[in-house]
Homo-oligomer: 261 residues x 2
């Protein structure tokens, strides 16, 4: 266990930069996971460093996992605030080595894939990871214009699912969808027209569900590439559902049809 | 149409106060709805005043509903910022007369009621209203410790459902649940133990679904008062779902069983 007291310590300056700039994290192949519960969910081998505030250490010292000690630095609370990514810091933050998957990691046995096109709200993307794990989704593809899945806010909103759910970022979702269809993965585009209610869609075989941006829906290219349409019927005057809600309802329907929930 | 140019205009000072203090809104029996789309969803009779920024008026002038003119004041953009409740104001905000319902408004014909115990995140409460309307829920009860349903953030997150979904705030949820049960409204408490998977619960007759706080779950008193438990099975290491996601999945299951979606 190391003790750092100065905010101008080189390590602190480095982590403060990580917390502010996505590019500095990318350059070093790391991301940040912050929160007392979240840090405990990280597979140990992925942790590069752990930072803990003095007051958090005081509270947690009797329950810290074995092995944390070697990677841990203790900071005065005001120094911890310099590196925190949260408005109300809990006092524990880890620098984590990047997760990296290939498309093969998500198209294995009985794939049930979520494809997110331009879902920009970090809270929604994180919530989708969380629900997806619970529903039995096997992997997630995100378009480049979606929220960065390794940004601090998304990582926090996944509540740990980010460490367990394979994901890939794709620069060409229409091409990916066409490839899926060629491989026999049925692609369901979530849209209001030209589709079936979700409970009439057969999702028992290998399939992908494609969710678009709440404001704009799916792009015409993606709509064209997918062989099926799927929708969630709505009462009242509602025009759309929250993207995380839609993704969760559709994932749970698939999990239910597959009898894995 | 009125034109206001000074930030020290009395009306502007009043609305700026509404935007900052819940108590000042309550004292005057009003709430705020902000956003170009949202303001159009307000039933006309409920609107007390509409404020629009000069640049928003320029964009929207050809598509404003009839009748807006009489209630509308135009402000320079920098004055509009004084009254805005948003980080990136769109330039349209309305002062709305309070919505007020009694318990009878939500226990009418074929009730399908959501009860929210201490759901504190405004975004979640708003998203629940939005999904609830779409799923065919007939009314929502919120505990006093839930987010204020008429706070600007909740109102925005409902995407207009707040104007159409009856709701009641209750200071005694256990008593309310006991009363529901006496009236033959079956109460399903969402909890992990002592219940059935959601797809095995019969929600075709009059019923209420009770959702608790993500961190703490339902209080023991509410758990005791409800005659049934209901849960959403989870794969992987997920410990819970987002509260809005849970409420949406359960509401949609009820809507599906009732064949209203």
């Amino acid at each position: 266990m190391q003790i750092i007291t100065s905010p101008s310590n080189e390590k602190i300056k480095q982590v403060a930069l990580y917390s502010k700039k996505a590019s500095s994290r990318k350059d070093d192949g790391v991301f940040l996971a912050e929160g007392v519960k979240l840090v405990r969910e990280i597979p140990f081998g992925l942790i590069r460093e752990i930072y803990i505030s003095e007051s958090c250490l005081e509270k947690e010292k009797n329950s810290l996992p074995k092995g944390f000690d070697d990677k841990m630095a203790v900071l005065p609370d005001h120094v911890f605030e310099k590196i925190s990514t949260m408005k109300s810091p809990q006092g524990m933050l880890a620098v984590v080595k990047n997760l990296s998957y290939g498309i093969k990691d998500i198209t294995g046995k009985d794939p049930l894939i979520l494809v997110l096109e331009d879902i920009q709200d970090p809270g929604n993307v994180g919530t989708i990871f969380r629900s997806a794990e619970a529903a039995g989704v096997t992997g997630i593809v995100l378009s480049e214009n979606s929220a960065d899945p390794l940004s601090p806010k998304v990582v926090r909103s996944t509540m740990g699912a980010i460490f367990r759910m394979p994901f890939v970022v794709s620069s060409d979702i229409p091409a990916l969808v066409r490839n899926f269809e060629k491989e026999g993965i049925v692609c369901y585009a979530a849209r209001l027209e030209n589709g079936k209610p979700y409970y009439e869609c057969d999702m028992t075989s290998k399939c992908a569900i494609i969710i678009g941006n709440e404001g704009n829906g799916l792009s015409p290219e993606v709509n064209k590439a997918a062989s099926c349409g799927i929708y969630i019927p709505m009462n009242g005057k509602t025009e759309s559902l929250n993207a995380a809600v839609s993704a969760s309802i559709l994932s749970y329907e698939a999990g239910r049809q597959r009898r894995i929930i």
